[in-house]
Symmetry: C2
């Protein structure tokens, strides 16, 4: 099948899309804007050369279907939308690799593959304008909180329902998007890693185990302000010292957790002046793990550590949950398939979790067997015009992802 697949064309199309939808500051395909609509129009022109049925669903997702012998569907997903000043790969690599796979399937199976194959361009994966990511895929997966979404506003005060109306989407009908998942038997997504793991290992591709669950909290230590000159060391209740002592333990918790990460991203102090012992110190803690039990344990250990160091420092500690989301482990058999095609293509594979969320997490939450493939990112930089991946790795990713689509079709047939 490799002679029918042309990964070089995918790279050329990625560059053409970049030329069409970027300015000097990077990609500008923010969802629901004219530039995003232009990207979609460009994609639809490509799809028109294939015998596919294409439509936009109730949530603004673009579906393109190549009917097969079985009505069971293999879904391949991505997103053309970008953050403002974004990169050239995030989201579109998935779409354009999917387009190339539709071309290969059409050529190889004379327009009728063994199972139905559908390419979906999710609407507003990034959430750049309304601050809420995975809009289209969450709606499709029945995971969108309508009341919350109805109240979202952009920085100009425009409400999400009004912005959707301007591009022909009726907000109250958005949940109808879930009809699209009828007959969905598997979901595949290719994405740049957006992290340094494959780069550090010197590997082009990895099989993704799932998206991390997240526990996000503010931890505040409450001590007592005291003059820096007249208060002996043994008389202090120093909120910063307790927080500082806890920090290395938080990182040890992550290291003991087999694959989890913990990040203290912000530290603020009150009164926060050079001549006073810190009365209150607030840290933000972001904990992530693929395993729900391990995530819960990391949280419990962090709470215990905070209480230990608060007690040791004769201060109090309080916790406030900022956000949480459950882990979304992917489908074990599809992970094995993904791992296999990577070995076949590159000789070596690596299994890793995804820190960032992806549309695949929403689809997996809806119960569709799901897997993602990651391709190495250079510099570990994303959401930035400097985002990049070696062209040789992009070619390998299209080749391996196409192989995965083929094996996933077989897997769907064998499950029937």
């Amino acid at each position: 099948m490799s002679s029918l697949l042309n990964p070089q064309r995918t790279i050329a199309e990625l560059k053409a899309l970049r030329a069409l939808t970027s300015d000097a500051h990077g990609a500008q395909r923010v969802a629901f804007t004219p530039t995003w609509m232009k990207a979609r129009q460009w994609l639809r022109q490509k799809l028109e050369t294939l015998p596919v049925e294409t439509h936009v669903d109730a949530a603004g997702n673009l579906w393109s279907t190549l009917n097969g012998d079985s009505e069971k569907c293999l879904l391949i997903g991505g997103h053309l939308d970008s953050v403002p000043n974004g990169g050239w790969l995030d989201g579109c690599l998935n779409i354009l690799a999917g387009l190339e796979i539709l071309r290969r399937l059409n050529a190889q199976y004379q327009g009728r593959p063994p199972v139905t194959v559908r390419l979906v361009d999710w609407a507003d994966e990034e959430g750049a304008r309304f601050g809420k990511s995975l809009f289209g895929s969450s709606a499709c997966a029945g995971q969108l909180n309508l009341n919350e979404a109805r109240g979202l506003k952009d920085k100009d005060g425009i409400r999400l329902p009004d912005a959707l109306k301007a591009v022909g989407i009726d907000f109250e009908r958005v949940p109808d998007s879930s009809l699209e998942l009828k007959n969905a038997a598997a979901y595949l997504e290719l994405h740049i890693e957006q992290g340094p793991v494959l780069l550090d290992l010197g590997l082009p591709l990895g099989a993704v185990l799932g998206t991390f669950g997240v526990e996000r909290h503010a931890i505040t230590f409450h001590g007592q302000a005291a003059h820096s000159g007249s208060t002996p060391m043994n008389r202090r209740q120093d909120a910063f010292l307790a927080a500082a002592k806890m920090a290395p333990e938080i990182y040890r918790i992550a290291e003991r957790s087999s694959g989890g990460v913990c990040t203290i991203g912000d530290c603020t102090t009150k009164p926060g002046i050079v001549t006073s012992v810190v009365a209150a110190c607030r840290l933000t803690l972001d904990q992530r793990h693929l395993d729900a039990a391990a995530l819960a344990q990391m949280l419990q250990q962090a709470k215990a550590a905070s209480e230990h160091f608060a007690h040791e420092g004769n201060v109090k500690v309080s916790w406030q949950r900022l956000w949480q989301i459950a882990p979304r482990p992917f489908h074990a058999e599809l992970i094995a398939l993904c791992d296999g095609v990577i070995r076949e293509t590159c000789g070596t594979s690596h299994q890793l979790s995804s820190g960032p969320l992806h549309d695949a997490a929403a689809v997996a939450a809806a119960g569709v067997p799901t897997v993602m493939m990651f391709v190495q990112s250079l510099h570990g930089i994303s959401h930035n015009p400097l985002e990049d991946t070696r062209e040789a790795h992009l070619e390998l990713s299209v080749t391996a992802f196409d192989l995965l689509a083929e094996k996933a079709m077989n897997w769907i047939q064998n499950k029937s």
Copy 2:
């Protein structure tokens, strides 16, 4: 002599001054204001009952002189000025105890003690209006930076020279205040501790070894921002983690320093968001010690610790000096005298350093043998209407301070 001394009168006068110059929010004797002028006028009326010569010097300090057999002078100093919403003791206890000592000396020596005794009410000790403390005593001690002082403005934009002119002081003549130190043979100052040391020990009085030197720096750790979800723990350059690991070591440095204190008063992070590893973490460090060599060693050890943890965390560290002042150790023989009279009065004494600065530090810097006596503060609170000291301790302080004045006169005579 104790029958001639009336410490109860000092307490009554402190209360009268409070009634005259406070409102519901506390003392309002901010230097160069009408309320401060009123306090001074009240003091001058008290002094007029004694055979003393009273005048305001070129820097606005009020001097009241009881001439003695020797022209060598024992100076007793304090300050009527307060911070806005201040307490009833800070600065005035010294003045009113000094007034009571002048009364006792006048009575005991029939208006002519063995050495000349001078009470000085320093102008603007607090620096509440222009942000620069010890104005009058620094000017008298030849320690005032005239160019810096000339540019000082209050929050309404009024320049210090103009504010001084309004109360009859010619800024350009301020350095002439130093003429007042002619024949100064010793300087004594009684003050509330403004810290918890004597309270913790359950002691009324302590002999002060000197005022701390201060090294004040900003320490910035420079790491790398990275996504909290996609960056493995071993791949991070976390500026906050390096800063946090250093903090307990900073406190150990203080504990090893025999009497020094170190305070991390503020911590700020960049980008300071929950989803990013900290790229830059800035701490403020305030280090104080009575011994210049020990202070320098604390600073050197803190720098070494910062470099150790920066290296360990694969981040960089930079230092910026914010402020420094040298330690002002007091006169060993006067400290011994002070310690002796406290034992005589209370049975037990304690020697301690002063974290806050006092006018005594300026006088000591001018080479005048100096000592301070501290009386216990309740709650360790000062610069606040809650500032307080038990009346029994105030009485003991006046009694012991009077004894110290007597012994200091003998000491001055014996040195001649």
